[in-house]
């Protein structure tokens, strides 16, 4: 029976793909129908996904990656001596992802109807197109998690890249008064190009893997003998192929999961509509990078204590801390969440780097729920403030016209006191914030704590997978510091947005959002609250599913116990963060829209507010030189290449004109014209004999006869 459903796994990405096709081809004029098509597409995927998860649960002993799993082969690509088998796969990692992806997508789809102002005056002009794009996006993510090989994985990966470009630049005609502020169009391009850097590196890794092993299916690639082969053959020096390929594949994850140094696209991606931020930049697309590393985890640990583990864990932990410091000084409600996302993804990457595979996937799932909740909540807030702004300024736009243009509905300093105006949004947002900061008993507490506990365990028990013990301590310290900052900036966000009194007219008049926006928030809030219980150390379902039967690099995974010390420290750190935020922003609610930290921190604040000037550095050292190089190439093109082409062309023209003058005109044309001339002259001449008079002809005949007779007589 379970095989019946496992064989249907290929239907999962097909449902949203069909929804995309139907909307684009047929229903895009009917907005309500388009909405329903998208909902039904993802809804069917959700039901089938959870069915498959249910059957996997009953039989997880035989479905644990890397080597077990039910494969559905679709077709073979012949590649010379061997065949490249492509298909889909059901195993526990896939099923865990299928728990989260379609469901969160469904919530976001439902929310989008209200956010895109269905049935109101402000309905988005490209309403149906939006639903088509997000359906295609969902197809990409679902297809990615059920791929059983790197080829289809890459295809779906790129579908998501395309959709992120289309969706971030969804409001492509928007321009801002401030020329330095990035527009949606530019943000889409930036996201696409930045992730492309990672993708190219990843593609190199995949190709190298193929050249070394001759296969790209996960089960064969991550089997013990293949990994042993990869770990013991060397690309150069003492760098094994396993290390090299793992590092290159990690490049793709860095791009997609927005890790330092390719993190720059994600905050700017907030220019897209908020459901897109929730969909792409919290719950699914950025998770794809973490999923990739989790899927390739056997490859990463194939070489015990290899450079790849140090790189992965360092990038992750560094990004976690780095992004959370930036989040402290951001005023845009969505940008704070964007940096928070980068930071949390850093947690997962760092967890994978130190070998805490189960904890990373656990955090990935819980994070998807509460970050989607936070993003949707922030969207609801922005939506409310925008409406309040319209309401407050309705009627008198003479002297307000300019001010209205400059009003930023995303700026938290323009908000305040929204809990009273939007209670449902406010309370669910606070639940999301509690989950994010890791307060007991919300989901983030369990998942984040498990990562920290694993790091501590590795430190105190002589390092898992051969990492130096002190290194684990460094990672643990960085992550704990990041947890402190996470609590601080989240608290700041809550107090600035929801506490105190409204600081603008817009906030004063902000209405609560419509039902289709509030219900997804409530449902996600329920998950953000209780989902963590599924991963409690005493009954860790995630460990049963993913870790119990798995054997990575010849060792069984460690089942994390509850560590009171670590739980205590992380809770204390989180509470401290909230407390400091309360001291600065909550105790005395702001009266004027100026951050009280701006003065005491001085230059540091400016540095953080400008995101360490990374964008400017990239602009100066990478983007501008690239543009300069392109310009130089263009000049070379015009001056040299074009000149050569033009010279050849000019020579051709000269040659042909010479030929025309000396050969064509006198000889060829002369011959043709000559024939015509001779014929016509002959005609003119002969024509004179044709008088039409019978007597002339008769005379000629008579003369001829006489002449012939004379000739006859003379000749005898």
């Amino acid at each position: 029976m379970n095989e019946f459903f496992f064989n249907l796994v290929w239907l999962l990405p097909l449902f949203p793909l069909l929804a995309f096709a139907i909307i684009v081809l047929w229903t895009n004029r009917n907005r309500l129908l388009s909405t329903w098509v998208a909902w039904i597409g993802i809804g069917l995927a959700w039901i089938l996904g959870w069915t498959i998860l249910g059957y996997t649960w009953t039989d997880f002993h035989h479905l644990t990656p890397p080597e077990d799993g039910y494969r559905v082969l679709l077709y073979n690509i012949p590649t010379g001596q061997t065949e490249l088998a492509l298909g889909f796969q059901v195993d526990t990692l896939t099923s865990v992802m299928l728990f989260m992806v379609p469901f969160v997508c469904l919530m976001i789809f439902i929310y989008s109807k209200g956010y895109m102002n269905y049935g109101t005056d402000e309905e988005d002009p490209h309403y149906s197109r939006f639903f088509a794009y997000i359906s295609l996006f969902a197809c990409g993510m679902i297809g990615l998690v059920i791929s059983d090989n790197f080829v289809t994985l890459l295809v779906f990966w790129e579908i998501m890249g395309l959709c992120s470009y289309l969706l971030i630049g969804f409001w492509f005609d928007k321009v801002y008064a401030d020329p330095k502020r990035i527009t949606p169009k530019e943000a889409g391009l930036k996201a696409f190009l930045t992730t492309r850097i990672g993708d190219v590196i990843m593609l190199a890794g995949i190709l190298l893997l193929y050249s070394q092993t001759g296969t790209l299916s996960f089960q064969q690639l991550f089997s013990e003998e293949t990994l042993h082969h990869l770990a013991t053959t060397y690309a150069f020096g003492n760098v094994s192929w396993a290390t090299l390929c793992a590092l290159l594949i990690f490049g793709g994850a860095v791009g997609k999961s927005s890790q330092f140094p390719l993190h720059v696209w994600l905050p700017d991606a907030m220019e897209g509509p908020t459901p897109v931020s929730a969909l792409i930049h919290a719950a699914t697309m950025v998770s794809a990078g973490v999923y990739l590393v989790a899927r390739s985890f056997p490859l990463f640990v194939a070489v015990s204590g290899g450079a790849q583990l140090y790189v992965v864990s360092f990038i992750g932990a560094f990004t976690a801390l780095f992004a959370s410091t930036i989040a402290v000084a951001q005023n845009d409600i969505k940008r704070v969440l964007a940096y928070s996302t980068i930071s949390q993804l850093g947690y997962m990457i760092a967890a994978l780097g130190i070998g805490a595979y189960v904890a990373a996937v656990f955090h990935l799932i819980t994070h998807a729920f509460f970050k989607a909740l936070l993003f949707l909540g922030s969207g609801s807030v922005i939506h409310g403030v925008e409406h309040g702004h319209h309401h407050a300024h309705h009627g008198h736009h003479d002297h307000e016209a300019k001010k209205e243009k400059d009003f930023d509905a995303n700026d938290m300093l323009n908000m305040g006191g929204l809990l009273k105006r939007m209670p449902a949004t406010g309370w669910t947002f606070i639940i999301g914030a509690l989950a994010l900061t890791g307060i007991f008993p919300w989901a983030g507490f369990w998942s984040k704590d498990e990562i920290l506990a694993e790091a501590w365990y590795s430190y105190s028990h002589e390092g898992a997978f051969g990492l130096a013990a002190n290194w684990d301590l460094v990672i643990w310290l960085l992550l704990t510091l990041a947890a402190l900052l996470t609590a601080f900036y989240t608290g700041r966000q809550i107090f600035l947005t929801f506490a105190g009194k409204p600081r603008t007219e817009a906030a004063k008049h902000a209405p609560e959002s419509t039902r289709s926006m509030v219900w997804p928030l409530v449902i996600l809030a329920v998950f953000a609250t209780f989902l963590g219980l599924a991963g409690m150390p005493w009954a860790n379902q995630f460990f049963f599913l993913l870790g119990e039967e798995a054997e990575m690099a010849g060792q069984h995974l460690h089942h994390g116990d509850f560590n009171w010390l670590i739980a205590g420290i992380s809770t204390a750190v989180a509470v401290l963060g909230w407390f400091v935020a309360w001291l600065i922003y909550g105790r005395k609610p702001l009266a004027v829209p100026v951050d009280p930290l701006e003065k005491p921190l001085g230059r540091v604040y400016t540095l953080l507010k400008n995101k360490y000037y990374i964008d400017e550095i990239y602009q100066m050292f990478i983007v501008n030189p690239s543009i300069g190089l392109a310009r130089a190439c263009a000049i070379f093109d015009q001056r040299v290449v074009d000149a050569i082409v033009n010279t050849v062309g000019a020579f051709g023209r000269w040659l042909s004109s010479a030929l025309k003058r000396f050969i064509d005109n006198p000889i060829v044309d002369g011959a043709v014209n000559g024939v015509g001339w001779v014929t016509s002259q002959a005609g003119e001449f002969m024509r004179a004999t044709q008088t039409g008079k019978v007597q002339n002809y008769l005379l000629v005949a008579a003369v001829t006869v006489v002449l012939l007779l004379a000739l006859f007589l003379v000749r005898g």
């Binding site: 044709q690 008088t691 039409g692 008079k693 019978v694 007597q695 008579a702």
Partner: protein, 105 residues
């Protein structure tokens, strides 16, 4: 005394030349037709002269038969020619061959 053959031939040749001259030089279509008749009759003279010269005693009547056939043809020709001339005259109100050059298009 028998008239020698050459005399007949000379008369016939003279007749032919007169006919030919008439046919070539006259403008009136009827006169041309008369020239043509003269030429035909000169031939008849030749035919009879040669017949009389070759077949002195009895035998066939081939020369006379030829002459009669030529006369018949000439009659037919005259009938057709005169009919044509009348048709031309009805169309163009002239029988002057200088004006009738329809063969030159």
């Amino acid at each position: 005394m028998q008239v020698p053959l050459s005399w007949y031939l000379i008369v016939a040749a003279a007749l032919f030349c007169i006919g030919l001259y008439g046919a070539l030089s006259r403008r009136n279509a009827i006169a041309i037709l008369m020239g043509v008749e003269l030429m035909l009759n000169s031939v008849n003279v030749n035919l009879l002269a040669f017949w009389r010269h070759v077949e002195v005693v009895g035998g066939t009547l081939s020369g006379q038969v030829f002459a009669i056939i030529v006369i018949t043809v000439a009659a037919a020709e005259a009938a057709v020619g005169l009919a044509l001339i009348i048709a031309v005259y009805r169309n163009r109100r002239t029988v002057d061959v200088e004006d009738v050059d329809l063969m030159k298009l």
